[in-house]
Amino acid sequence: MGRLKTIARRSFLIGSAAIVGGVAFGAYLVKRDPENPLSLDAAAGDAVFNPWVKINADGITLIAPHADLGQGAASMQAMLIAEELDVELDQIITSYGRPAATYYNTALAAEAVPFRSNDEGFAAETMRSTMGAVMKVLGAQVTGGSTSVPDSFDKLREAGAVARETLKAAAAAETGLDVSQLKTERAAVVLPDGTRMNYTELAARAAQMDPVTEVNLRDPAQWRLIGKPLQRIDILAKSTGTQTYSIDLKVEGMVHASVRMNPRKGAPMLGFDASAAEGMRGVSQIIGLPYGVAVVADNTWRAFRALEEIEIDWDVAPYPAEQDQHWAEVAASFVPERLDKEWRNDGDVDAALDGAEVFEAEYRAPYVAHQPLEPLSAIVKVSDGRVDIWASHQLPRFVQQRVAAKLDMETDQIHLHNQHAGGSFGHRLEFDNIDVTVDVARELPDTPVKLTFRREEDFAQDYNRQIGMARGRGTHANGQVTTLDLDIATVSASRSQSGRLGAPVPGPDTQIAAGAWNMRYAVPNLRVRAYAVPELAPTSSWRSVGASTAGFFAESFLDELIHAAGADPMSERLRLVNDPDARAVLEAVAEMSNWGSPLGPRKGRGVALVTSFGVPVAEVVEVTDTDDGIKIDRVWLAAEVGRVVDPVNFENVVAGGVIWGLGHAMNSEITYSDGRAEQDNYHLAEGMRLHQCPVIEVRALENNPNIRGIGEPPVPPAAPALANAIFAATGIRLREMPFFKTVSFV
């Protein structure tokens, strides 16, 4: 509790005085705090308690700034506020609020700093707080990096507590009672005689008071909501087709549109002939853009169909046209001048390899598309002095800044109405849907334009996961792994992405070797070097980012060395592991999977341990080599997450991460030919289907004091654990994803 009190003392009132009928609270580490965005919309009589809580006579609104991409972020954020505010989840509504610097993400900055997340040293802490300040200045309201939970955990509970105590103070002022005599429950202050004063009635009075900022957060033992199995607030809507996504929205006077952009991503259009599309039913406009052609129609399908009739002359790709050239560039990158950073160098690797019998192996990981099931779309209305955008985005502030810059307007003239997303996996960190729809909408002033990507267009325009290779050299002696030397070369998705944002990341890319260099093993001689392949096709963050490739390389190569040494994959990892959290998750999966117990014929188990986003995750996969192909029977997973906020959703998201990791390792890649992605729909990049889904058993460990997010960390160990299991079952070592190039799956 001491730590929480400290944070509460550091919190203070933010920009509240000027608000009509409103007050505001927050917990900030930098003195000049951003304005309270709710005050901009506040009407007289609204009590705007802080950037996260708004109460007026109509009800209680909790602002959940992290976009809900399906991971349950809205429920989780509401739960944290409601816990301290003493409201039930059925008494509130949630809203994304307007994009605002106030909602900047401190946790993501912590992950961007190149220190191992278990390194609590002074330098690491200093760097993290520096980055926190940088994020604040940038106003980076970000959903990503599995940071929604850690970013929210203290901030939102504190927001709830401050609002609760201020409402009690208002009730005390009204009744003349002492605050200590008052209790709160179900959105009301309860007087000693049982009289209930609803928060909504107290709001106007509370709005005129100085908020109470000295608050204690509740002891976890008293929690009613956190850590308890609750119903997700969106579950009814999502089970009845009544959840509205941005692709479903209808705005008065809206027209439909779609686009074909140069499939050689990033290259311009040279010219087009739309004569066959002109006059097609429902088509109102055909708009040539620098990078493609858009059709405006009265129905999405009519726009799709007209687009197919347009002949377009595309310029050549700004990157190599053929996949072989991409691989060649990656293979040519293991050279000193492309060394991005030597991340780890324990012992003396060069001496250990010199003259020794060296085991070597090379691995490959392809480009992979995101392709959430809701295709990209946006609605944009450009009016005089105001732009409205309805879309789902993980970087709402950047959307505003980008559109403002494009239209030469002020940021506060750009109104983004953020929406629930039909999945993202990193896809909604990019801006194509926003950019194109703005370009079309500015041609139709005062008309809302809803632009929907065809699935094929979404594939063609995706910014894929980084392509990469790794080369390992190692030695073993007396049944033990003694040297592990791993060179990893990938394109830098971080640089590709941040370059497009106009905010290039300085220094080495933390992601190229993420999940490998921080392996929690004490191999006597251990070196991990990251090489940056120059930009090829543009890439972006894909669920678990660098660790999805580097984790595969590291845990596959370690497994090969262990087998070469003649050791057991689990016992040798347990012998090498040098961190209590990592040891605990390994021991957990060993116990859960009954590792070492006899298996039937043609069966095998594989294990992998990867730490990403501060979360060590161990997975054991069990497979059978059937006559119809490899069948993944079971997966056991253990993760150290600090604390589980929402256990029902936790298990779902973790299992989903395993499925994501396994499915794409099995059968998904993007390859280029003639400068275009060859895969244009799910039949060519299928992911896992239900019949291929193993039984998944999940265990959360809560030993570490730092709370962590879980959206991404289950992904990286899945692919190597599967490859290691297939090796155990068949003797076939899979060094290249997707695995279906080498073995078949049921």
Binding site: G70, I235, S239, V648, V653
Partner: protein
């Protein structure tokens, strides 16, 4: 042409070859029916025609030969169909975008096969893609719904 959707009759003026999906979404504003792939790969657009599941992206408006039921006609938040109730009970959804189609597929399946085996559930439900990976809960929810429907 005339379409009967969720118990209501609609007169629509569309091309014969417009997929039913787009008639429902853009002409009638019934958006519980989702566009995912357009080529019968994902199942997000699944509706029923005379009670049997159909991928509405594949069915041309001019070929519709029966009454259409969408997720909105299957049940509502106040009056859940047994399959929807099982989906709520198991808290299946993550992003939720595929779930309308999953539910419509499961409802049609359980109407045809009231006592499915585990293998049959895997066969019936593998045409519906879920990118979030809610498959373990879909399996569980289909079983719960089957038991409930049998008891009914």
């Amino acid at each position: 042409m005339k379409l009967n959707v969720d118990g209501k009759s609609h007169e629509v003026d569309v091309e014969d070859d417009m997929p039913l999906l787009w008639v429902l979404r853009d002409e009638l504003g019934i958006t519980g029916v989702k566009y995912g792939c357009g080529i019968a790969q994902c199942g997000a657009c699944t509706v029923h025609v005379d009670g049997v599941a159909v991928r509405s992206c594949q069915l041309a408006a001019g070929d519709v030969d029966g009454d259409i039921t969408t997720i909105a006609g299957l049940g509502s938040p106040d009056a859940l169909h047994a399959v929807q109730a099982a989906w709520v009970e198991h808290q299946v959804a993550q992003c939720g975008y595929c779930q309308s189609g999953q539910i419509m597929q499961a409802a049609s399946f359980l109407d045809l096969n009231t006592a499915p085996t585990d293998d049959q559930i895997d066969e019936a439900m593998s045409g519906n893609l879920c990118r979030c990976g809610t498959y373990p809960r879909i399996r569980a929810a289909v079983k719960t719904a089957a038991a409930k429907l049998q008891g009914a």
